[in-house]
Amino acid sequence: MGFFLEVVLGGLMAGVLYSLVALGFVLIFKASGVFNFAQGAMVLFAALTLVRLMEILKQTFSPFLIALLLTIAVMIALAWVIERLVLRPLVNQPGISLFMATLGISYILDGFGQAVWGSDVYALDVGVPKRPIVLFESMVPGGVLVPSEDLAAALIAGLLMLGLGVFFQRTRIGRALRAVADDHQAAQSVGIPLNYIWVIVWSVAGLVALVAGIVWGSKLGVQFSLGLVALKALPVLILGGFESIVGAVVGGLIIGVGEKVSEVYLGPAVGGGIENWFAYVLALLFLLVRPEGLFGERHIDRV
């Protein structure tokens, strides 16, 4: 029982990390209908920028804070450049062309990031405790092991999502964003500047990427493979729906738990390594019941 709890907990922690990456996808898809393939590259780029700036700023009083602020500035600048040079010329084009364009962006970011910052592995230590905590020792034999690093990551991710929720529900810009998400043309006609909104959305997605980069980077070390975590977010997306922030969170948790439980309990029977596709099958099963994802919007087709 204690072990089962650990597996579920492990799954939840992993799930939070998946949601974090999925969130970046959802934000952009919601506001501009673009399936942003460059999200993974953005995670890598943000983390690389942060960790290398920290190295450069080693002498200052707080390298982490200054580097963090600078990286945020870089991500905002990046959002602006992307909007100017890629999105604006491609406005009103089919979604698949935009998807392809974000692929181009991800190549550029990968190349640029490595050219400027190097392709080695860089340790990122943000002072998160690593020793695991043992809980419920009195209730289950051996206790339940909770890795404190994952706990901290989950906490950060939770805070970020809460912040985003407040931002979307309570602020003026957030309301404008939701209006754009609902209907581009209607939003524009009531005087919401689309281009400006896009810059903001991509900036926010950049920030989410930065947070994901910090969390994953302190776990894996900052290196090229960080960009590959984007693949882990895809089943979350179809499960939770491309357009739902809540969906990204809940979907992430379900995928995380489902994946770990299946790997630990079913995996050994069939040779292991099943978590990779099991997540997709899980998501697929949900889809067959609800084709627009758990929290996606139902579309009605008209001929």
């Binding site: 072990f3 650990e6 597996v7 492990g10 799954g11 922690m13 992993a14 490595q114 392709s119 080695d120 592995v121 860089y122 340790a123 230590d125 690593k130 020793r131 695991p132 092991l145 890795p147 690093e149 994952d150 994953w216 776990k219 894996l220 070390g221 290196q223 090229f224 493979s225 960080l226 590959l228 975590v229 882990k232 994946e259 770990k260 790997e263 630990v264 995996g267 050994p268 040779g271 292991g272 390594g273 978590e275 990779n276």
Partner: protein, 444 residues
């Protein structure tokens, strides 16, 4: 339909032009030995690929700068980026194999996947494939794998040395009976290589073997380590590469698995593997492919002749890292093989076939190793037609939080276990491919 040929022919012209100019340049200075380098300096495995490539390049530069080449034959080399991808590796091979006055001397792809793909091609192109410490374990048998050279050790040796080491710790191999050993491996041919040997050993010694695959690239291993936590194996062998290694160490911390019971293969025992984990990696063990980190006489030369002249491939501070040293030794073995071959064929650029003779007759004793400035990093080795490996010694080193320290003596892999397996696998390969064996007694 029509335009694709258009594009292709344009490219054809461009490529042909490129090839032509290159051969022209090469013909102009004919006393050169061409050494191709398949490297990966970008992409997911770059942190491990870069130091290896730097060590390799620096040693070749050193030979040119200090000795004026191999007996006066200058080495020219060219890098080609594979990104650890098999199809790019094949393209690089095709691109480089014919360059230089005599073609490529030998290839070292540093990737098991590329090695498998090239094994087919080197047969027809007659170019040796040096896979130092990786590649197909059965390619030790030079009568079947005429062009493959897994110098210094294969994965079967590695697994065997690890078993012997944990046996020693427990006071004898027979004490392993009833123990449980988990293999956490990269789910690819590379990671699967040691399994047959470990199974064979498990059968003989009576320990329990647990196989836990980790999907490429290995960024998500929580489930694997939860299984480790559940079954509490006595030892965990780690067969990872790149990001998988550091992640494994971190996950081991997260499930409280003692690091000093973890043993990595020699590709999971370098600085990029432990540094991201920081102090938590303390106590982690890994095989050393003979050498570890650290500098010896040859490094002083490298710093003087290569970095002193501003011709270094990497950073001065990285000279002497584990993978740097491995690249350097790999280049050294090739250079010495060419030197050996020059003894027979004359002091001129050699073809791949001639270089193979050099590798097969390569023999380095302790004295020669000291002369080369590698004392203490290498055991004597002697390659032959039937033994394409030359030496099968390894040591264990441990990360003490800041550096690698040796915790074991030299251990030699047990031939009586491995050789029958090699013979069997090589025979099967020869049969599948309809190969005629070369008679090693005749002397090629």
């Amino acid at each position: 339909m029509p335009k694709f040929l258009n594009a292709a022919t344009l490219l054809a012209a461009a490529v042909a032009a490129g090839v032509l100019t290159n051969t022209d340049a090469a013909l102009a200075q004919a006393n050169e030995q061409f050494v191709p380098m398949l490297v990966y300096r970008s992409g997911p495995y770059a942190p491990n690929g870069i130091p290896f490539a730097n060590g390799y390049a620096d040693y070749l530069t050193l030979v040119n700068e200090r000795d004026g080449g191999i007996n006066g034959v200058k080495i020219v080399s060219e890098e080609c980026e594979t990104g650890y991808a098999t199809d790019r590796g094949v393209e690089c091979y095709e691109r480089l194999k014919g360059k230089g006055p005599t073609g490529a001397a030998a290839f070292s792809p540093l990737s098991t996947g590329i090695t498998y793909a090239l094994t087919e091609k080197v047969f027809t192109d007659k170019i040796p494939l040096i896979t130092m410490g990786y590649g197909r374990s059965e390619s030790v048998d030079g009568s079947v794998f005429q062009w493959n050279f897994p110098l210094l050790g294969t994965y079967w040796d590695a697994a065997d040395v690890l078993i012997q080491h944990v046996g020693q710790i427990n006071g004898g191999l027979d004490k392993l009976k009833g123990k449980k050993i988990a293999l956490v491996y990269h789910d690819s041919p590379y990671g699967k290589e040691p399994i047959p040997l470990l199974q064979e050993r498990a059968k003989r010694l009576g320990f329990e073997l647990m196989l836990i695959p980790v999907t490429h690239p290995g960024v998500e291993q929580k489930a694997a380590w939860l299984q480790v936590r559940q079954s509490r194996p006595d030892y965990v062998f780690l067969w990872g590469w790149g990001v998988m290694n550091s992640t494994a160490i971190k996950e081991a911390v997260a499930v409280n698995y003692p690091r000093d019971h973890m043993y990595g293969v020699w590709w999971a025992g370098a600085e990029p593997d432990v540094l991201p984990a920081g102090v938590d990696a303390k106590g982690y063990n890994a095989l050393a492919l003979q050498h570890s980190a650290g500098q010896s006489a040859v490094h002083a030369d490298v710093l003087k002749y290569v970095y002193g002249k501003g011709k270094g491939a990497g950073q001065k501070e990285d000279v002497g890292h584990v993978l740097y040293n491995r690249g350097l030794i790999n280049a050294m073995l090739l250079v010495e093989s060419i030197r050996t071959a020059q003894g027979k064929f004359g002091k001129k650029p050699l073809t791949g076939e001639q270089v193979r003779w050099g590798i097969e007759n390569l023999s380095l004793d302790q004295k020669r190793i000291s002369q080369l400035g590698l004392a203490g990093m290498l055991q004597p080795l002697k390659v032959s037609c039937s033994d394409h490996e030359g030496a099968r010694h390894a040591r264990i080193h441990q990360w003490d939080g800041t550096k690698w320290v040796f915790v074991s003596d030299w251990i030699e892999a047990d031939e009586t276990v491995i050789r029958p397996m090699v013979d069997e696998a090589a025979a099967k390969y020869a049969k599948d491919k309809n190969l005629t064996r070369r008679d090693c007694k005749v002397g090629a």
